[in-house]
């Protein structure tokens, strides 16, 4: 059997030749992404802004305008209605009513009564009611968790490698998260708790490639002490290229399947991780690696610690 080799043996691509072009492009993309997110805002779900989300499934496809008119006639505030996974399932989103969450639930009950009366066989699939207090906490906690995860991982990389590698990891993560945020701002996909879980996962998984490449750079730095840093990074990237491609593909295959045929409720989570892995693959080559050059990682700067270690090992 002939084995599949997606990446030919002994590639010698000059990745770093394009590093400045790639940097400018990444920078533009990141800035655009962040400004767009700030300008347009994210489509935050009830988890983060409070309110109610009611998912209803109907027997037949229904007229959205008609449903909207019915919900509006209840005067519950500005309702938004959107299709959810198919023409027979909809989600009705209502702003949080003044007062306690208990009041909010009677709202859900009214919608439920109305819908079940007018559409025989309609079923309320789920109701989420989140008070302003809880949604604020969830939003804060999510932001803190993502920041902590980024910082924690950057610190770990610093501890395991060198400070330049930690900075590189942090910048890579910031880039990946910014791009994914921009995607969510652009597509208006709803950001809920699951999507935040996806962001945290991206923090772990998009760095996967970076860690592997860093590990190889460290190894090559020790092995080829006379090699110029540019060629050395190119060498490391080429050596790990096959692995980068194969692993990214397996993860993307698995997530692609989940996205296409998995449950609708976690579509946002699946697409976020899918995207994060894709972006992470790019950034591990064009952000993580060149950052090392700019931060002045050189074979001899590494040598000192190496030699120190070697000397210690000998005396010990």
């Amino acid at each position: 059997m002939k084995l599949l080799k997606l990446v030919p043996e002994n590639t010698n691509l000059d990745f770093m030749r394009w590093r400045n072009v790639a940097l400018i492009l990444s920078l533009i993309a990141t800035v655009t992404s962040i400004s767009y997110t700030v300008y347009r805002g994210l489509n935050l779900g009830v988890d983060f802004v409070g309110g109610q989300l009611i998912r209803v499934s109907f027997q037949q496809p229904i007229n959205v305008e008609q449903l909207r008119a019915k919900v509006d006639s209840l005067h519950l505030g500005e309702a938004s209605i959107s299709e959810f996974g198919g023409p027979k399932t909809f989600q009705i989103r209502l702003p949080k009513p003044p007062g306690s969450a208990a009041a909010a639930n009677s709202v859900a009950t009214r919608v439920k009564i109305e819908v079940e009366r007018d559409y025989p066989g309609a079923k309320i699939e789920s109701v989420d009611t989140v008070s302003g207090k809880v949604s604020e906490e969830l939003a804060d906690n999510s932001a803190i968790a993502i920041a902590l995860a980024m910082l924690g991982i950057a610190l770990y990389i610093w501890f395991r490698f060198e400070w330049q590698f930690g900075v590189g990891a942090l910048l890579t993560l910031a880039h990946d998260i910014a791009m994914t945020l921009g995607f969510f701002a652009f597509t208006r996909l709803q950001v809920d708790l699951n999507v935040v879980a996806a962001f945290l996962t991206i923090v772990g998984y998009s760095l996967n490639d970076t860690v592997v490449i860093y590990d190889r750079i460290r190894e090559d730095l020790r092995k080829y002490r006379k090699m110029a840093i540019l060629s050395l990074i190119n060498l490391s990237l080429n050596e790990t290229l096959a692995r980068t491609v194969v692993t990214s593909l397996t993860v993307l295959i698995a997530l692609g399947v989940l996205m296409l045929i998995g449950p609708e409720v976690i579509f946002g989570l699946a697409i976020a991780i899918f995207l994060g892995v894709l972006i992470g693959t790019y950034s591990s080559i064009y952000i993580s690696a060149p950052v090392l050059i700019w931060l002045g990682v050189k074979p001899d700067s590494f040598l000192k610690t190496d030699e120190k270690e070697a000397a210690e090992a000998e005396t010990a």
Binding site: S100, V130, S131, S142, A145, A149, L200, I253, L255
Partner: protein
């Protein structure tokens, strides 16, 4: 590379077998095969989260304002009772305004005696060295009691643990359902009830504090003042439950719901729903005495600061039994009876988050999730096979073993599988082979460099290990933070990722290494096809 001691083979084999065994009850749980699993085998099962099983999730928060009010009120009662014991101490102008209890001691020479008696009412808070109330004297005659912060926190903690038990008893009087009632943080209770799709029922049960009190009606009060909300000293104005009017009642509690032993929904002579209550011995004695002393006068039945009814005492009630009537339906009478017999909530609870999931959505998610899992495993397996041949095959065996191990460990710890957890499972499948990709690519590389076969395999495993370790640590960091900050479904996702990291390193590194070593030893190949 070739030496692979027999005990290691046995150890790995046993771990794999146990993992597979533990996962089977969860896998066949919803199939007709469930009954055929032998009883003597392990029965551990993975819990399904609410988002998969359907059910209601409520997050309750204690009303700290209500808490403060109640503490002040009960302190006021204790102070009045305690100082009455000493006839020389005459107090007046009691106020609970501004979150503090203050009163005037009419004879300045008795202030010290009063303060001395009050000290016995305050108590030290464990481990803090502070007392729960500060007693101060202002302007030489006014005594002020201020709740200390540690005291308030301590009281809240006590209240929450009582409230948790009360909530559980109300939702599940028989103690048979698989419900979750846990305190979260300082002042919250999380309630999860699988299978209950409509949380309104739950909220009705939890919504009532069910603080039942019997107080005498203050007949001396001027009806006009009462309508305006002013009551004579020693009395208070309360609204009727139907909201039509106000009524003045004595502050002093005759008997309270704490002294009930039982409450049942029943019907009165006219067939209207009411509640039969039974007092404990002390309560019955006290109720009997007060009713004896006040025949012909009305008393008020007060629930959560609203007067349900104010009947006349026609004759002394001595048997310790009474009926509470009000405008009840059978359902409201039943709910109140459950609430009364489960005890009052020490503090009012507000619902601050509420989620309910219908059973169909969950079933649909399970089916789609299972299908997606199978398809993605199949896709990854084929991809690995065409890419690495024999080594891909070994990685695939490891992958399947990994899937069983994750389920087995989850079952063993009785972990909860949530919808995002399924995504975590699939993600782990995709990422678990990364270790094998790293190893296999490294072996390819070493062979290209001209290393001898065994040496190349050995180096491949050794050199890849570092990157595998570091990559997995980053996953552990992000998943742990997720598990710490996340709630419900998200935590379920993090748990799967964490378990997956551990099992995938085991299967992808140690397990495949064993397979490769055994194969090399058996066949001694000249060349590797990788």
């Amino acid at each position: 590379m070739l030496e692979f001691p027999r005990w290691k083979i046995w150890l790995i084999g046993i771990v794999v077998a146990i993992g597979a065994l533990l996962s089977i009850p969860s896998l066949i749980a919803a199939t007709p095969l469930a009954g055929s699993w032998p009883k003597w085998m392990p029965q551990y099962k993975i819990n399904l989260g609410l988002d998969l099983a359907g059910g209601s999730h409520l997050l309750l928060e204690a009303d700290s304002g209500d808490m403060q009010k109640q503490r002040l009120q009960s302190m006021e009662d204790s102070v009045a009772t305690e100082l009455r014991r000493d006839p020389r101490i005459d107090i007046g102008d009691i106020s609970t305004a501004g979150g503090r209890l203050s009163f005037l001691v009419r004879d300045p020479s008795q202030v010290d005696a009063a303060v001395e008696r009050l000290r016995t009412l305050t108590k030290p808070v464990a481990l803090t060295g502070n007392r729960d109330w500060d007693v101060q004297v202002v302007d030489s005659t006014r005594v002020v009691l201020i709740p200390t912060q540690t005291g308030t926190i301590g009281a809240m903690k006590d209240a929450m643990s009582v409230a948790r038990d009360v909530v559980r008893r109300r939702i599940d009087p028989g103690g048979t359902k698989e419900i979750t009632v846990v305190t979260e943080g300082n002042n919250r209770i999380l309630v999860e009830v699988p299978g209950v799709e409509n949380p309104d029922e739950l909220k009705k049960l939890i919504g009532q504090t069910a603080r039942l009190e019997f107080k005498l009606v203050d007949l001396s009060a001027n009806p006009q003042d009462v309508a305006q909300g002013h009551a004579p000293a020693g009395s208070e104005v309360l609204p009727m439950a139907d909201g039509t009017s106000n009524i003045a009642v004595k502050r002093r509690v005759m008997v309270s719901g704490d002294q009930l032993t039982d409450a049942k929904q029943s019907f009165d002579q006219d067939g209207r729903p009411d509640i039969d209550i039974t007092f404990n011995t002390a309560g019955a004695r006290r109720f009997g005495r007060v009713t004896q002393e006040n025949v012909g006068k009305p008393f008020a039945i007060i629930l959560d600061d609203k007067v349900l009814s104010a009947p006349n005492i026609n004759e002394p009630i001595l048997g310790g039994r009474a009926q509470i009537s009000g405008n009840f339906t059978v359902q409201t009478a039943h709910d109140l009876a459950v609430s009364l017999s489960s005890g009052k909530l020490p503090v009012k609870l507000n619902v601050i988050e509420e989620r309910s999931i219908g059973p169909d959505l969950g079933t649909d998610s399970i089916h789609k999730g299972a299908l997606a899992s199978i398809v993605s495993v199949a896709a990854v397996v084929i991809f690995m096979l065409v890419t690495y041949g024999r080594f891909g095959f070994y990685a695939n065996i490891a992958l399947v073993v990994n899937a069983f191990l994750i389920l087995g460990i989850m079952a063993m710890f009785n972990a909860t599988l949530t919808l995002p957890g399924i995504a975590g499972f699939i993600l782990t499948i995709g990422a678990a082979v990364d270790a094998n990709v790293l190893i296999n690519e490294r072996i390819r590389e070493e062979i290209r460099r001209g290393r001898r076969l065994l040496d190349a395999v050995e180096t491949g495993y050794r050199e890849a290990m570092r990157a595998i370790f570091d990559a997995n640590v980053t996953h552990v960091i992000s998943a742990s933070i997720m598990a710490y900050f996340g709630s419900g479904p998200v935590r379920g996702f993090a748990v799967v990722l964490l378990i997956g990291v551990v099992t995938s390193v085991f299967t992808a590194v140690y397990f495949t290494r064993m397979l490769v070593a055994l194969w090399l030893r058996r066949t001694r190949p000249r060349a590797l096809h990788i």
